[in-house]
């Protein structure tokens, strides 16, 4: 299987064509823009935090298949997580794509993005939404 096939899997196609949680929230408690200055891709992440948990998440933006799928999958995964849990997921996701660490089971379908590590150029695409998440949850 080529690197490309390893990366552009069915699951990403689904999220690229029909991204989940795409749009805006009615009453977000945090709104965080994210930009990948190297290509100009940008997104805006909205969260509603309640009792230390991410009650709702939505995002909007334009970007490549990798960044869109990553944002879609992330927005689904973090819903219901406590802030420390969400940050831990971010850490694990980045370990996987930046450092090439073994994909953590908690990442679920996001493990489909493990191949990004070998396609170095795409790391910034895959982490765009996650960087925005980390910014948004900064104390």
């Amino acid at each position: 299987m080529s690197l490309l096939e390893e990366l552009y899997k069915e699951i990403l196609l689904r999220h690229y064509k029909r991204p989940l949680n795409f749009g805006v929230l009615e009453n977000p408690t945090v709104r965080q823009p994210g930009v990948n200055p190297s290509c100009g891709d940008s997104l805006e992440l909205e969260l509603r935090l309640e009792d230390g948990r991410i009650a709702e998440a939505a995002w909007k933006g334009q970007g490549c298949a990798i960044s869109m799928a990553s944002a879609s999958l992330m927005s689904e995964l973090i819903k219901g997580q406590t802030l420390p849990q969400a940050l831990e997921l971010a850490r694990k996701f980045k370990a996987m794509v930046v450092e090439g660490a073994e994909p953590a089971p908690e990442l679920g379908d996001l493990r489909a993005l493990a191949g990004v590590h070998k396609l170095h150029a795409r790391v910034k695409c895959a982490t765009l939404a996650w960087n925005a998440l980390e910014e948004a949850l900064k104390p």
Binding site: S2, L3, L4, Y8, L13, Y16, K17, S38, C39, G40, D41, S42, Q62, G63, C64, A65, I66, S67, M68, L119, A121, R122, C125
Partner: protein, 407 residues
């Protein structure tokens, strides 16, 4: 031996040594001929010393080589040596003009006229200066074909316009702008004319005197030269009264603790130890290009472009290209494939050994106008072959096939 495309390719070690690679990113930066690499190494191995201020032979020889490079670059663009200022790159050159001329001359409500197709290098310096001076920025629109909307000039070129700064050849659309006409009309309202020649100097014959501009900026690394050296050309009469930009050694006459007086141009604008080896190697690059002939470089780019566009038009209806169709267009093909994102396309092409750039190419306003966050871009140079263009087209077809469910 006549200069053939094959012999030119043999001059570039990276091109000759990587037959697997189709390098289509010369607009971002060109590869280097051995003559340039060797000019630099030889200088370090055999005759390196700091320039100026040296009372010993080695330093004098280095100074001579450095000043010789200034003469060569002057010849390359039809200028006088005293009008050639060595800088790092086009970006620094344009900042020099914006700061040295702009901070000194712009007042509140003065107008700076740019174009919608500018590279960030010709936008951001003016933003910085506008904020400090209260001057305002306007832009000549770009037509749907990718040309400057000259009809808008009448209205835009008011008496308030103090400077018109525009790109000679767009790094996205490939458009070669009618600088002579814009300069003439800008001069009629008394405006300074600044030309971003980052793409024109490497790709077509340039005669700065004929352009009618006051400043012309370009980068060495895009014209077979090393990184770290570029040129700002300034008309002698304009440089004469231009205050300095960077302060330091070699640009002064007399320095006291709290004040200083400045040297004549071009020294006034070269503070500190210059990029000596880089300027010398850039001289070698200009010699190399003049050896090939800039008209020939331009015609080669043009031929590759026409071949590429013809094939894309005929065989890849899903590919949309940007930029004008006509003689006023150089070897740059920015494109999109269906709704696929440029990054996905470029990354897939890279898997076939085809190197194209993806992104906004430092022209966000232009991309906003095109309605896209980014495009992919293939660009050609004197070492690019028709076969490589064919490999690019075939590669694109494979990418289309790979992404057929995504399109």
């Amino acid at each position: 031996m006549p200069l053939t495309l094959e012999s030119i390719r043999q001059d570039f070690p990276l091109i000759a040594g990587r037959p697997d690679l189709v390098y289509l990113d010369s607009t971002a930066s060109s590869q280097k001929p051995q003559a340039v690499i060797e000019a630099m190494s030889r200088f370090y191995r055999e005759s390196y010393a700091n320039v100026h201020r040296g009372a010993y032979s080695l330093s004098l020889a280095a100074t001579d080589a450095y000043e010789q490079a200034r003469h060569t670059l002057a010849r390359f663009i039809g200028a006088e040596p005293e009008e050639v200022i060595f800088v790092r790159n086009t970006t620094e050159a344009l900042n020099l003009v914006a700061y040295a001329w702009g901070l000194h001359n712009l007042r509140e409500d003065d107008e700076i006229l740019l174009t919608e197709m500018e590279h960030h290098a010709n936008l951001v310096p003016w933003h910085l200066v506008a904020r400090r001076t209260g001057a305002r920025i306007k832009a000549i629109p770009v037509t749907p074909e990718g040309r400057l909307e000259l009809a808008a000039l009448d209205e835009l070129l008011t008496e308030r316009v103090r400077v018109v700064s525009l790109v000679h050849m767009s790094n996205v659309l490939g458009t070669v702008n009618p600088v002579v006409e814009v300069a003439r009309r800008a001069k009629a309202v008394g405006a300074l004319v600044v030309v971003d020649g980052a793409q024109s100097a490497p790709h077509l014959p340039v005669d700065v005197k004929a352009l009618g501009a006051d400043f012309f900026a370009f980068s060495g690394h895009k014209m077979c030269g090393p990184t770290g050296a570029g040129v700002l050309w300034g008309r002698a009469e304009v440089l004469q009264d231009l205050p300095p930009f960077l302060g330091g050694g070699d640009m002064i006459l007399e320095v006291h603790l709290d004040r200083s007086t400045y040297a004549k141009p071009p020294q006034r604008f070269e503070a500190g130890t210059p990029p000596i080896a880089e300027a010398i190697a850039l001289g070698a690059a200009a010699e190399y290009l003049m050896g090939v002939g800039m008209e020939r470089v331009w015609q080669h780019d043009r031929a590759l472009l026409e071949h590429c566009l013809a094939r894309l038009d005929a065989e890849l209806p899903e590919v949309r290209t940007f930029g004008p169709r006509g003689e006023d267009r150089g070897g740059v093909v920015a494109f999109s494939l269906g709704d696929l994102h440029a990054h996905d396309v470029a990354c897939a092409l890279d898997q076939h050994g085809i190197a194209v750039r993806a992104g906004h190419h430092c022209a966000q306003p232009l991309h906003r106008k095109l309605g896209l966050a980014s495009t992919a871009r293939a660009s050609f140079y004197l070492y690019t072959t028709f076969e490589e263009v064919d490999r690019f087209v075939e590669g694109l077809k494979q990418v289309r096939e790979f992404f057929k469910d995504w399109l």
